[in-house]
Amino acid sequence: MTVDQVPSVAEKPRPAARPDAASSAGPPRSSMTTRRHRAFYMFTSPWIIGFLLLTVGPMAYALWLSFTTFDGISPNWRYVGLGNYQELLSDSVTWDALGRAGLFAITSVPLSIIAGMGLAVLVNRPLKARGLWRTLLYLPAVVPPVGAGLIFKQLFNRDSGATNGVLNIFGIDAIAWLDDPYARYVILMTVLWAAGNIMIISLAGLQDVPRELHEAARIDGASAWRTFRSITVPLLSPVLLFQAVTGMIASVQTIMPMLLAANSTPAGVTSIPQSNYMYMMHVFAQYFALGRYGYASALLWVLFVLILIATGLIFRFTSGVVFYNVDPEAKK
């Protein structure tokens, strides 16, 4: 009997309910439903209140701000309707920053997924001290981003960084890593350094792949690569999709490594190398350096809409290739 042939819980035949069950065996059905509803709302209300207060509220406020010239202090701010959005369309700095953020997402997300999944495959094998390896590889992911950013800033400093110290041993002159054209690679490295997060999720996915499928493939003479490509990857595809979507959302909003590599004052954020001046840095500068709360809010709303569109497109284009290992009947 295959997995598909096992009757789901939903399909199991139930004994016919006795007519007097409601009166003799516990509270009436409507009361149970009410209690369940109440319990549901009670358990979810902290999150919903937090969501309304900390997400919906600020988003609505930002939407309102995006129609104004508000700068936080000055008395004569005014409504400009869609003026900020119109300005945004013709602002080349904004589009350049968005382009860099998009390029960063296109580069960093696949690389992170490949790195994380590669590590997961490695530590899923029967290794000596496997637990230790898993811990060591995951460790960078638990280092707070601020700490990681500062470490990288020190490591790659031209005059005092360890990286150039090592290069000097081999007679290579110091490189200005934190300046263009190298700065983008340093930021990419900070992202890849924390690939342990993806490794853990991929590892969980790998352990969920039925062992008998691998054994069957091996008996049929499939190579390790073929097994990985035709069995492991398809079964991991929902996990990969999840990582691609969340990775894309996170990477276009990346700000912390760039902020830390820069002089992280409101004005200092614009002094970072141009290749790292991405969308969120631009938003940060508009808010806190230029005091353009209205324009910066419009930038954020545009980003929100673009992320929604990008997420929708990812789901649309992957709908035929993502394999969900669930019983379709269970949905009924």
Partner: protein
């Protein structure tokens, strides 16, 4: 409609309850930002928005003991200040850089005119105030005149520079005079001879000259070249005037030669102090206040000299204060009288005397000047140079229409291309004009 036992909680009702919860929580969070006037144990209390090292826990206890006023410190943060100003409950005293912040806040009507308070004070007498405090004055158009909106806790003439004689000796460079200013061109030539490099790394900076920030540096360099960066009504900048162009050219040359930290060669220590005292910087364009750090290491202090602010050839000699860090009182402060008593105490009593003795800046009350460090020979020497420089003090007015951070952010974006030789100084000047004037135009509209 009242809910009753056993009734199903509809989605609509749940959302209504949630909205109520949100409103309630919002009200509570509003309370959290409020600035209470009464301390929990009785007495008065105020809120100060400062950097945590501006007022130590010991000083807060001292204030409680001496004034009976409890001080709550809120970390200095412009976004939090804006939030507190917006909800109508700002801190009672706020840290600020008089040279840059005073016109901005005064023009927007959020800063309290402190003239009536000064008029009544027996501790902070106006004839005892050093002229450096004028950076906190603004008459509606020009800085340095009109009502006082704050006071500096100490100050320096930030275009002066410190130099390390040991590094000059090593490079065989003559010491700059301590009485007569050298020119900016000479300063740069010295820096080129003093810089030390190895394997593409800078091991000793020839000199650092970045001002308190780039905006104020370029404003002051232009003034030193005999011009003004701003138009008469402070609504526009012009980097294409001969004086502004001269200032811009000098600074771009400084960055291009890579003799010191700049946007294209950031200092790993982030500021001059640690680098200078580690003997890895031959000259630091910092005023007297850096002496506070230098004096902590007598070995460094003995080889350090303070020199007058350089001049441009044909330019005038001036030596302004680029910061004037101090405090102002928001117009909507809840506890103004208590705040003023703390203000008087902080700027005129125990804390002010302790600061004067520390050497981290020149006291802003003339009567406290004798307290400046003069025990050691090297301290006496520096004191003499500083006393002579005071004759050349002046206020370089700043525009009220933009925050300095805004101009700095725009400069940071445009300047590196010129420093890297990708654009000429003329192109740079044009781009700066267009970008900064657009921001100033918006600021002018906001102020009205």
């Amino acid at each position: 409609m009242r809910s009753h036992a056993g009734a199903s909680l509809s989605r609509r009702r749940f959302l209504a309850l949630s909205a109520g919860g949100v409103a309630g929580t919002a009200a509570l969070s509003g309370c959290a930002l409020s600035t209470a006037g009464a301390a929990p144990g009785g007495g008065e209390s105020i809120t100060m928005m400062v950097k945590l090292d501006d007022i130590s826990p010991e000083l807060i206890q001292q204030a409680q003991k001496e004034l009976g006023i409890s001080i709550t410190v809120v970390q200095d943060d412009i976004t939090r200040l804006i939030a507190m100003l917006t909800n109508g409950k700002p801190p009672d005293l706020v840290r600020g850089l008089g040279a840059l912040d005073a016109p901005y806040f005064a023009a927007r009507g959020v800063a309290e005119d402190l003239d009536p308070y000064f008029a009544k004070s027996t501790i902070l007498k106006t004839d005892d105030l050093d002229p450096a405090n004028d950076v906190w004055r603004f008459d509606g158009t020009t800085q340095g005149k009109g009502p006082r909106y704050g006071m500096a806790k100490d100050f320096s003439q930030d275009a002066m520079f410190w130099y390390n004689t040991a590094l000059f000796d090593k490079a065989g460079v003559d010491y700059p005079s301590e009485t007569e200013p050298i020119t900016y061109e000479e300063w740069l030539e010295n820096a080129k001879r003093l810089v030390q490099r190895k394997n593409g790394q800078t091991t000793v900076y020839g000199g650092s000259y970045n001002g308190v920030n780039l905006t104020v540096l370029l404003t002051n360099l232009t003034a030193a070249a005999g011009g003004s960066l701003f138009s008469g009504d402070f609504t526009r900048v012009d980097f294409t005037t001969p004086e502004a162009r001269k200032a811009l050219t000098w600074y771009v040359d400084y960055a291009k030669t890579k003799v010191g930290p700049s946007l294209i060669q950031p200092n790993p220590d982030t500021w001059d102090g640690p680098t200078y005292v580690a003997n890895r910087m031959a000259m630091s364009g910092s005023g007297y206040w850096l002496g506070g750090m230098i004096n902590e290491d007598p070995k460094v202090a003995k080889v350090s000299r303070l020199a007058p602010a350089p001049v441009f050839e044909g330019g005038r000699r001036l030596s302004s204060c680029q910061a004037g860090t101090g405090m102002w009182m928001p117009k909507k402060a809840q506890n103004k009288d208590a705040a003023w008593r703390v203000f008087e105490w902080f700027f005129g009593e125990g804390p002010a005397k302790a600061r004067a003795e520390g050497g981290w800046g020149i006291p802003t009350l003339k009567s406290l000047r004798p307290l400046m460090p003069q025990k050691e020979d090297y301290q006496k020497r520096v004191f003499k140079v500083q006393e002579a420089e005071l004759e050349h003090f002046s206020v370089t007015p700043f525009t009220p229409y933009v925050k300095t951070e805004a101009v700095d952010a725009l400069i940071n974006q445009i300047l590196p291309a010129a420093m890297n030789g990708q654009i000429s100084v003329d192109t740079l000047a044009g781009r700066l004009n267009s970008s900064i004037n657009e921001q100033m135009k918006r600021g002018k509209e906001q102020v009205g």
